[in-house]
Every structure is written in C-alpha cells, then in structure tokens.
Point group: C2
DNA sequence: CATTTTTACGACCTTCGTAACGATG
DNA sequence: CATCGTTACGAAGGTCGTAAAAATG
C-alpha cells in the first residue's frame, strides 16, 4: 500500500472537475480506467472516496481530505521534476556552478554552493 | 513519466544505506529488483543516478538531488497516510467534529473547522 | 432516451525472483 | 575467491480499453 502518484492524480483530477468523465478526458484515458483507479485507491485508503450524486459523483469527506493531501504530493513530485529539469539545463550541478556562478546567483536569488563542496541543492527556476 | 513513489523510495533507501544490497534488504526485495528499479528511474529522470565505486555504488550529483526531492515526496505521502489514519480514528471528520471539538482542539493545537463548514483539513496527530 | 458510472473480460505491460554473468578488492 | 551489482528470462500481477450493464434525470 503506497498511495501511487498516478492514482492520487486521478483523485485530484476528479475533485477538480467534479466528474469521472471530465477527469478521464483530462488524463487522456477512458472513464472506465478512472473508475477502476478510484476503486483501487479507496481500497488502499480504507475509505469510500466518492459516491454517486444524481448522474455524477461527489467526493466524500475522506475523499476531500485525501484530495487535499494529493495536491501536496503532486506538488512535491512537480518540484522534483523541476529540479531535474534545472539540473539538465545547467542551472545547478557540480561542474557548471563555477562557470555560471554570477548568472546562477542572480537567477536563483540564493547563494551558490560553497567552494570545496562538490554539490549543493538550492532553489532553482 | 510520473516518478513513481515506489521508485523514489528505492532511491531514498539506496542513498540512506549506501548500497543496493542493503537497500534491498531494508525493502524486503532482492538486489535484482532494486537494480532494475534504479535503471528505470534513471531512464525516467534523464540522468544517471548512481555509478559503481569499487565494489559498491555512489550517487551522482543528480542522484543526490533527486534523493533529496524524494524525501519531500515520501514525507507528503506519509502525511497523507497519517491523515487517513486520523480520519479513521475519528480525530477529524464531518460528524465527529462537534462531539470532540474541545478534545480535538487540544489535541491538534489548531482551530477546529468553522461551524457550517462540513469539512476542513488541519494538523492532526 | 441520453448521459454518466460501473463491471466483465481479455490483451498488453510491468515487476519480481531465480539464475547466470561481470566487476572488484 | 568472496562479495556486490547487473542482465536474461519467465511467471505473476496490474492496468487499460472495449463492450455491456446499471443508474439517473
């Protein structure tokens, strides 16, 4: 039981758009896939996350709580991806820090890695 | 490409323990599985994350950066799980907020949900 | 009856362990 | 040569789409 990112994204999208169909369209999958992921996620979470309301669905309180946490997780993942992209573009990194020290410093508004330390993580982007 | 939580946990464990074998033991899987997950993760990340150093391995700078972000993601997931557990134990939730208002207030050291709002997330545990 | 969600089912993909191999001190 | 990491490969499990069914206004 690991609360997979993919499933959390599904829940987030359902919460955001208010329907399985709309979430499926946004995620470029079928409503069937979204529905199945929700079943699996609620099994993992130990709570019913959505319930039918008329022709659509609404999130249960547990679903709203988990959706809120899902946004945190997705944000952290997004930051990780941004960190890798920054690394790829040479904003950070061992070798290029010296070459781009001043430019990087202005860009990130943070101190560059201390000399002698081969790597250091700081705010990028 | 979604930077799966399971794979980030593998990287974190490798970073923490300094070897594939030790990480595999901690995760109750074989070194083969850890090695394959690292290959897949580095493919997704677009960076080499580890490199052989003598008989063991060391993280590359990119690996260290991603491992740092992995800790953020894992922390967020952990909070989500804690949130669900708290919900299951009745610390939060729509119906029980009124009944346990003062106890919950003391327990969480935060204001309880405003009356009239059916749900609200705040610090628990 | 149109729309939305869910379920049954099969094809495809992923992941793991075993076993063999390669690398290193 | 003992130990650590990687690769080949097959079995087991997971995920998705199609199609059919169920629910609702």
């Amino acid at each position: 039981m690991d609360l997979d990112v993919r499933r959390l994204r599904v829940l987030h999208e359902v919460a955001l758009r208010g329907s399985v169909t709309a979430a499926a369209a946004a995620l470029h999958v079928t409503p069937s896939a979204v529905s199945q992921q929700l079943v699996q996620l609620s099994r993992e979470a130990g709570h019913e996350l959505v319930e039918r309301a008329g022709r659509g669905i609404v999130l249960t309180p547990a679903g709203q709580v988990l959706a809120s946490h899902a946004r945190e997780v997705l944000g952290a993942v997004e930051q990780a991806v941004a960190g890798l992209a920054a690394l790829r573009d040479g904003v950070s990194g061992t070798v290029r820090v010296g070459a781009f020290a001043s430019a990087a410093g202005a860009l990130v508004a943070r101190r560059p890695p201390a000399p002698g330390r081969s790597t250091q993580s700081w705010t990028y982007g």
